[in-house]
């Protein structure tokens, strides 16, 4: 296993300004969206259940910033961040959480199934690890079509215990497919800590079984994520095959909203909260790049305006009719 250390000030400063702003904007959008979703869920406005990615914003932001617009992602039950980072709009996402006809999935999918094929979002997935074989297939398609596209497949630490993980990564390795498997290692699968899921210290060690690179980065350092992901994505684009990227991070809330997460030591949460990926990046943008507080405030305001409009849009959107349930089964 190779470990990329936390990115240096020089590394950050070397990145283009608009990229830094984009990374920041994405993280802010995810943070605000998730906070609002939580609030609305607790207020009883949203049906179903909700898996919050608060605290994990840097992974989605860093990886997706390294993707081309026509690249693909597959996402998970904890997928709001991934799809926002890939470019989805808050309004249609929020409408989907409300189960409205204007949602990305017309209210048929909900939080766990947001998809937008026009943006390369091949779908969040309610079945843990099921996105990985699909990502492998999209990469196969990209390779066969010689489109130059790359796929990023998001999944959790828990997902690496699934047979589908093994089969999908192995197949991609054998065929040298352009796909990067991005493990958001938040150290728990529901209540089960890493050391009860596997007898290795790092998920990236699993890459050895497939003869592909395995890299571990600080998943709360958006610059480190961006750089590692970028390297592996460009490597994949050059035809050198898949890789496994482990981003070490932490979910601030329980597995779903309502889970008090009493299985985690409070000091563990405190430690990770002290490493808030958004605050860290904000501080660095001010200190290591030449961003001003005003500039960042503007980004935050724009995101919050988008969010407010999104909630408004979702609330005012029409609910589906019961019989709409019968549509969209067959092409």
């Amino acid at each position: 296993m190779s470990v990329t250390p936390q990115s240096s000030p020089a590394a950050l400063a070397a990145l283009p300004r608009n990229l830094l702003e984009r990374l920041y904007r994405t993280m802010v959008r995810i943070r605000l969206f998730e906070q609002k979703a939580l609030e609305l869920f607790l207020a009883g406005e949203l049906p179903g259940f909700l898996h919050s990615c608060l605290g994990q914003e840097a992974v989605a932001a860093g990886v997706c910033a390294a993707l081309r617009e026509d690249d693909y992602i597959t996402s998970t039950h904890r997928g709001h961040g991934h799809v926002l980072a890939k470019g989805l709009a808050m309004d249609r996402m929020m409408a989907e959480l409300y189960g409205k006809t204007t949602g990305y999935c017309k209210g048929k999918g909900g939080s766990m199934h947001i998809a937008d094929f026009s943006c390369g979002v091949l779908g969040a997935n309610g079945i843990v690890a099921a996105g990985l074989p699909i990502a492998t297939g999209a990469a196969l398609s990209a390779q066969m079509r010689r489109s130059g596209q790359v796929v990023a497949a998001f999944f959790g630490d828990g997902a690496t215990s699934q047979g589908a993980f093994h089969e999908a990564v192995n197949l991609a390795a054998v065929w040298k497919l352009p796909v990067v498997y991005v493990c958001e290692n938040n150290h728990y699968a529901v209540s089960t800590p890493l050391e009860r899921q596997m007898r290795i210290a790092s998920v990236s060690e699993r890459a050895a079984a497939y003869g592909i690179p395995g890299i571990t980065v600080d998943g709360n350092d958006v610059v480190a994520v961006y750089q590692a992901a970028g390297d592996l994505i460009e490597r994949a684009r050059r035809g050198e095959g898949p890789a496994l990227l482990e981003c070490r991070t932490y979910r601030w809330l329980g597995h779903y909203v309502g889970d008090p997460a009493t299985y985690r030591p409070p000091e563990e949460l405190a430690w990770w909260k002290s490493r808030d990926p958004l605050l860290i990046f904000e501080r660095r943008l001010l200190q290591e790049a030449d961003f001003s507080e005003q500039e960042l405030a503007l980004v935050r305001r724009e995101a919050s305006d988008e969010l407010e409009a999104a909630v408004d849009f979702a609330r005012r959107s029409p609910a589906p009719r019961p019989e709409d349930a019968l549509e969209d089964v067959w092409p």
Binding site: K108, G110, G126, Q162, V190, S191, T192
Partner: protein
Amino acid sequence: MSQIFYRQAVRDALREEMRRDERVFLLGLDIGRFGGTYKATQGLWEEFGDERVRDTPLSEAAIAGAAVGAALTGMRPVAEIMYMDFITIALDQIANQAAKLRYMSGGQARIPVVFRTQEGAGRSSAAQHAQSLEAWVAHIPGLKVALPATPYDVKGLLKTAIRDDAPVVFIEHKLLYGVKGEVPDEEYLIPFGHARVCRQGTDLTIVALSRMVWKALEAAEVLAAEGIQVEVIDPRTVVPLDLATILASVRKTGRLLITHEAYTGFGVGAEIASQVVEQAWQTLRKPPRRVCGRNVPIPFAPVMENYVIPQVSDLVEAAKELMR
């Protein structure tokens, strides 16, 4: 008698059997300290510890397969598949191994394993967390299949399942965990293959599975007010199926309505209807009617979700049509 929740009845059954027989143990996702997604195993880890209440990695094929291997070699595992939708991943071990190892070995193997899971819609869980897939396992010879609807039944049937030497797929319903009912304080078992006549009636027989038993009883109330006397039967296990009790009722009423949440097409209702038609052809006054899940994936938005699974009003309406 005490009034307890369905989830408590599950837990009590597990606890009693674990106390009675040290070969009984549990494995599955987050069933230990976490107590299970629907809290049905809460408190058991505290009593029995890591060894007998085993949280596993996220590996349904290994959960099911490890249970099969342990059952073959002297243990009596209860393996939990968190949502029945995820049985896809464990199905080789359930349908090709557990169901067949006894037969393939010429009767040598005993496979006392219970696959506990839960199914059903009604929580806006969408297409991959709300299916009712009992037809899949019922189709495979060698598996027994139970779908308890009440706290009383879930406890008595689960204890029987654990003592059975055949593999049992034990299917709870996510919206029943919070239902309360009377359960005796003393020990009892409910044999498999014995339907429960939940309500007696003379005009129409409703055979209902799992949560639909409750809706059928509600519908029967409504219909009684209009002078239609409905008999409600819960088969409780679909393999083995207590056809005799259903036939006895149909011979009395001449009319059969079958209801389950699972997709109508190629569902358990078709088998029950076919068997009744084969056996009670002379006494049926109308063709059996299925009021089951619509043949579409389960949608997220509540208004659509409610539409695709049968509601009390659907049962009432269908019953009235059958009475015409």
